[in-house]
Symmetry: C2
Subunit: 694 residues, 2 copies
Amino acid sequence: MEKLLIALTFACSVLALLFALFTARKVLKFSEGTDLMKKISASICKGANAYLKRQYKIVVVFFAVLFVILGVMAFLGLLTPYVPFAFITGGFFSALSGFIGMKIATSSNARTANACREGLNKGLRVAFSAGSVMGFTVVGLGLLDISIWFFLLKFAFKLPNEAITSAMLTFGMGASSMALFARVGGGIFTKAADVGADLVGKVEAGIPEDDPRNPAVIADNVGDNVGDVAGMGADLYESYVGSVISACALGVAALHSITAMALPLILAAVGVICSILGTFLVRTKEGASQKQLLGALSRGTNFSAVLIAIISFPLVYFVLGKANWTVYFAILAGLISGVLIGQSTEYFTSDSYKPTRNLAATSETGTATIIIGGLSVGMLSTLIPIVIISVCILAAYFVSGGGTSASMGLYGIALAAVGMLSTLGITLATDAYGPVADNAGGIAEMAGLESSVRERTDALDSLGNTTAATGKGFAIGSAALTALALMASYIDKIKSIDGGAAKIANLNITNPTVLIGLFIGACLPFVFAALTMNSVGRAAQSVVKEVRRQFKEIAGLMDGKAEADYASCVDLCTKSSLHEMILPTVVAVIVPIIVGLILGCTGVVGMLAGATASGFLMAVFMSNSGGAWDNAKKYIESGVHGGKGSENHKAAVVGDTVGDPFKDTSGPSINILIKLLSMVSIVFAAVIVNYSLL
Amino acid sequence: MEKLLIALTFACSVLALLFALFTARKVLKFSEGTDLMKKISASICKGANAYLKRQYKIVVVFFAVLFVILGVMAFLGLLTPYVPFAFITGGFFSALSGFIGMKIATSSNARTANACREGLNKGLRVAFSAGSVMGFTVVGLGLLDISIWFFLLKFAFKLPNEAITSAMLTFGMGASSMALFARVGGGIFTKAADVGADLVGKVEAGIPEDDPRNPAVIADNVGDNVGDVAGMGADLYESYVGSVISACALGVAALHSITAMALPLILAAVGVICSILGTFLVRTKEGASQKQLLGALSRGTNFSAVLIAIISFPLVYFVLGKANWTVYFAILAGLISGVLIGQSTEYFTSDSYKPTRNLAATSETGTATIIIGGLSVGMLSTLIPIVIISVCILAAYFVSGGGTSASMGLYGIALAAVGMLSTLGITLATDAYGPVADNAGGIAEMAGLESSVRERTDALDSLGNTTAATGKGFAIGSAALTALALMASYIDKIKSIDGGAAKIANLNITNPTVLIGLFIGACLPFVFAALTMNSVGRAAQSVVKEVRRQFKEIAGLMDGKAEADYASCVDLCTKSSLHEMILPTVVAVIVPIIVGLILGCTGVVGMLAGATASGFLMAVFMSNSGGAWDNAKKYIESGVHGGKGSENHKAAVVGDTVGDPFKDTSGPSINILIKLLSMVSIVFAAVIVNYSLL
């Protein structure tokens, strides 16, 4: 059974990677267009490479330090000896996911722009293919890492199943820390460049977006790649692997059988096949409307989702047997919830609906009212997702038999997360193609291509905003479910340690250590959001000053007679974002250890619950406020409320600028934060049991 | 013993009320100044009265409906028959506190302005005396209500102690709902008027604050009275009464003796005396600097706090005896935490410290960066208060013997809240004098008094911002502690109902109903903040349009040749704020019942914990962001970063405008929300036990 399982997982991981490779080769066959386009694309690529290279240098130091710490702990018997290595591989594969995604994205932006010269359908195919490379790389590397470790631990080190899942959980910590670095660093880079470019270029100098005269324009496009692509790749690698492993661990704990561990792996493997099939449905006819474009993408993702929903029914029945087949409904609940949260995101942030349209109208009374309006749209938008996720948790828990066995219920919650992420290959493809289209638009503008090209890339880009909303639904929903599953795994882990069971006996919510843990945990997303926003603010201010300086000092820049010094802006963004990413990540790693040492294991559980609840809310709030401001601005640009250049538009641009760090730095980072907290807690569990104060 | 206790409480309530009366008469002896000043003050007074009259009309309907519902429930045996009446008196006294405070405030604004013509010291005395009337009215009415009901239930109806505290808890629901109406309605009024006046007057038309040409100027001053005074009075009445009663209830549950119930009452009674003594120390010499003024106020509050800290030591020892005297340290922890949270608030919001100064500097790069900066200052500022309150909870729990008896620990937490609020008489006085000074400044401006008068009222007003920070520390800190005490009371209440103990047995944080309750509870402050901000936004927009209309249509208004139609703005604010206050309050009352009916008692406990944690964070975040923006603007007005009228100043004004609903509507309302949720849950406990789904 184990061999078959490893073989299946390994085979599907190879399948995903081969599909990614095949798609990448297909993309690279397209032409990059004119020399100017090649040159621009090369500058973007160069900037992104330089950033990643320097980022990895810093990350390597962090990983080396933690490797030594974990090594010492393993030497002292507080950890199994595999943990330091699992930690490293998790980080490595997460970084690799981001790196490959970024590589293909920077290689496809000019190609997409060029393809758009021939037609919308061709542009869509190039951009979507680039997204697919990223999606299937993430999925493939995730399954590869899991199957290799599974193989090693089972057959080389001959561990029992409980010990296998327990060891594998820890490579989640490597993946999570890497993801947090990538998301925070990339998020700061992209938004510092974006805010800097917008504030001085659009607002002060009054030149259009992506205008080549803007010194921050290349940095802005580099940012799309290192933040929205590399950051997202590392992020979702971590979500994917985290949800699968925690489901395996909880399955073993609930049923003490290899079959329970097998189910999440099989689901993930089958999900790869469904996703690949789905990609073939993404195509559209020439001159397709916005709606038809969206239809093409939705057809692919919906097909994959329905397929996995159908296939997993016999699958669950076959794997778990008659006694436990009802966990199927937990998987279904996860799938449906992901879609519903995405739809709620779309409702609150798309300009086809009332909230964003009303928000656009508040610009009539000035900047302050559109800021207040956007904040309240975001806060209000937390209600529906929280109800959806609550119903999902309740349903997943009870259909899986949580009423009689709590551990079965928790297994159900973890499977809901796996269900939600099972078609990640294609959902990530529809998500990752957005930044490629965005870059393509930038290149079209800078290379002075005819306006019809820009119109086509804009159509693709705007579509990307909608699919990104769906993607965010999956990312946030799965983060919450996975965090809860990890919390349950943490409790199991503590119980498995000598003397741990007594220390975690009183998890009553009125126990003051639980309660205080809850308070502190709930505070972390606020502090984390503040730190990352401050970072963006500081980095953006330095960009603003640099751009202003160039406008002032480079003679003839505004008339297009002299070229801006793009490299200095890229360099500035790189330096400040890398400098700024360290503190938030270190905080996220250290706080759970400090809380554990002071409040003990019960305090840690409280902290995890508090951070998950408030983190989910803050992530939804910040993403949706940001999305609503962004689209309210675009809605005004479409000609209502005075249109482009009006006072109302200026107010909306301020809203959009405030929303930038909300939706692309702080919000998504919080998703990772809540999982990293659990991962760190799990890794340091033995330390806490042995040395905690309370 | 009981008789002595009731007599003492009653005597101190009468003492507080007499002191308030005596102080009021003293204030009313001062002259109101010139005819113009009288006229302006009369318009403000008229507007405030008209608002309150209409507000009470709506509130009466709400109370009547709930009275009938509670009556039916009592008839069905789900409640004791006293509850509907207790509910009504709680609401009545809360409303009365606000009304009296508002009356004295509107009668003292012109008197303060006039006193400032003679000197700063005289101005301070008038304004502070007006604040004292409010402070001691709140305290006096609170103790009066408690002692009357205690007397009735004990001697007229001869209930046992457990039943007395249980019945008295329910008049907290009346006080809380009234407080929420007052805070939300008043908060919307004041900020709609303020935002409207600022946006059109200051930003668009470029006329100074409180300029008589601004049509919203009277409405703005009315707002200070109905929001900052009447709203705050009702709010703190509720905090005070809620903390005392919940401590009584938990004391009876922990020690089953009248002495445990006596302690909070005696503490409150002694606190009245300490506060009165403290007020005599508030005076300053002529020409006092800002620092000396603050010193005068601090001397009063510090003296009262130290006095009660000293006196309560023998008091606790005498009342509870050798076995339990250590709860003294819980009281001390509460007192100290209140002061520390206030200092943290001051650090983050005063322009004497780095956060606000740095925030002012972000205005250099435009509106967007000052908005991002203010949001992150607020979010970051949650960390220290959460650590303080966590340490306070832990300390209060364990010094009171929570390690061996959980109910003693919870009694300790409740006593910490009582300790924090014991000197409310004087802390509220230093808080409530702010709006009086603010109004006085407005009158000085509108009546065209010499600029030295305005300088003096400005000095008083700016001082008010600092003391308000301390006041907020107490309000937020005590709200969190009281909410936790009420949560504990709720659990006791459920256990006392037939079949309740089994329903609340599993309060483990991993129980999905607890967890989902937690998620939903944590979401409520976000939704509530959104609703109230939206309300302010909508109301402000209508004011903006009306002010713009008047500027356009009333010929000669800008040249001072024609008078603005102040009444129409007041009327508009009244109408829209009363309309807008209904939904948030109804939501706060209905949600805990719905959650209870679906998720059962364990879900309610989860909801209360989640709402307390996230409500505390949101309240601190929103208050401090708002405060920091306000003071960053004032700091710029003092001449740095370009000073008044510069682009930077304009950016700061937008920040301040966004901060207005943050700090004066949504933030403070959340304090009440978290307690109202518990109160409603307690009142409907029997319904939930009998009819819940899960």
